[in-house]
């Protein structure tokens, strides 16, 4: 009965390989990313919604009219990440930020690769950096990050 008190521990992985259909508007957004282009869509009263949605979230009316926006943009809010997690898009310190591209009336959550927290400010100008054309697949990661405009 004096068996070794060794207790077993093992790594487990639980993974679901979901795929989903994008619908026409999100599909358009992803197709444009693959082309290295940011697009929004016109909602009620001509307001440009970015990223594009099928319906205007304020009025529930159907949106209509694809509009090119960016790549220049403004940071409207941000939070600094000192220690990125393995799942994060960058493996060095970066900012999660709400980013409003030129020509859009709403902002999207994405990454600002600014180098240091002191380089960040609400209202700062940034611009989109895409993966090389032959590496883009039509996914969010095609857009690597936004960087301060003067750094480009």
């Amino acid at each position: 009965m004096s068996e070794s008190p060794e207790i077993f521990t093992s790594p487990h992985v639980l993974e679901f390989p979901y795929s989903r259909s994008t619908g026409p508007v999100i599909g358009s957004f992803l197709t444009a990313l693959r082309d290295g282009v940011l697009i929004g869509i016109k909602g009620t009263g001509g307001k440009v919604i970015f990223p594009p949605t099928e319906y205007d979230p304020d009025t529930a009316e159907e949106t209509s009219g694809i509009v090119n926006v960016g790549p220049g943009a403004v940071v409207t809010s941000w939070g600094w990440v000192n220690q990125p997690l393995k799942q994060h898009p960058l493996q060095h310190p970066f900012a999660w930020a709400l980013i409003q591209p030129d020509g859009a009336d709403t902002a999207m959550l994405h990454v600002v690769d600014a180098g240091s927290e002191s380089a960040m400010a609400t209202g700062m100008r940034v611009t989109a950096i895409f993966r090389p054309a032959d590496e883009r697949i039509g996914a969010m990661a095609d857009l690597i990050a936004f960087v301060p405009e003067e750094a480009k």
Binding site: F8, F29, T31
Partner: protein, 172 residues
């Protein structure tokens, strides 16, 4: 007609599908009792634990009796034979399936145990499997024994007369 579509000149056409895998990585710690059970498989043995209050034998054991709420201390080695309490013939393919369909998944109540567990049943025609059928464990070769139920290749019929319903009705 609304205009909600971006037109690309890319020969791959428009994106209509998006892969969105969901993944959870974690560590499972077996604890003292289950570790003893797992180490038993490495020796080719079924190891359970008996409750000091109700005398029920749990295999595998989680270390306490769910009825009496007391810690289990007495280790019990179970026999290699048991009874099929209920079963399912699997005909449907699914992602990650490692066994060729059709196959039989049975709930096995080992002799002397008071808890059944799921086991693969082979060397048995699909139409032959039944509740109460007597089975025995077939282990992998000695050098292939591992601390998991993978050490049991499958269960097969012993050919003994079926167990009486009363002997396993509590475990359905």
């Amino acid at each position: 007609m609304s205009d909600q579509t971006y037109v690309t000149s890319d020969p791959r056409g428009s994106i209509t599908q998006l892969a969105t895998p969901s993944r959870l990585e974690y560590f499972f710690t077996a604890g003292t009792s289950l570790s003893k059970n797992l180490r038993g498989y490495q020796r080719g043995q079924f190891i359970g634990q008996r409750c000091p209050v109700c005398s029920k034998v749990y295999v595998p054991s989680r270390g306490s009796c769910p009825v009496d709420g007391v810690a289990l201390t007495e280790e019990v080695e179970l026999k290699n034979t048991g009874t099929v309490t209920t079963f399912c013939v699997v005909n449907v393919p699914f992602a990650g399936q490692s066994i060729k369909i059709p196959y039989i998944a049975g709930q096995i109540l080992l002799d002397g145990a008071n808890l059944s567990f799921m086991g693969l049943i082979q060397e048995c025609e699909l139409e032959e499997v039944r509740m109460g059928m007597r089975v025995e464990a077939v282990w992998v070769d000695k050098e292939d024994l591992v601390p998991s139920l993978a050490s049991v290749k499958y269960f097969r019929p012993t050919g003994e007369p079926d167990a009486a319903y009363e002997t396993y009705q509590e475990y359905l």
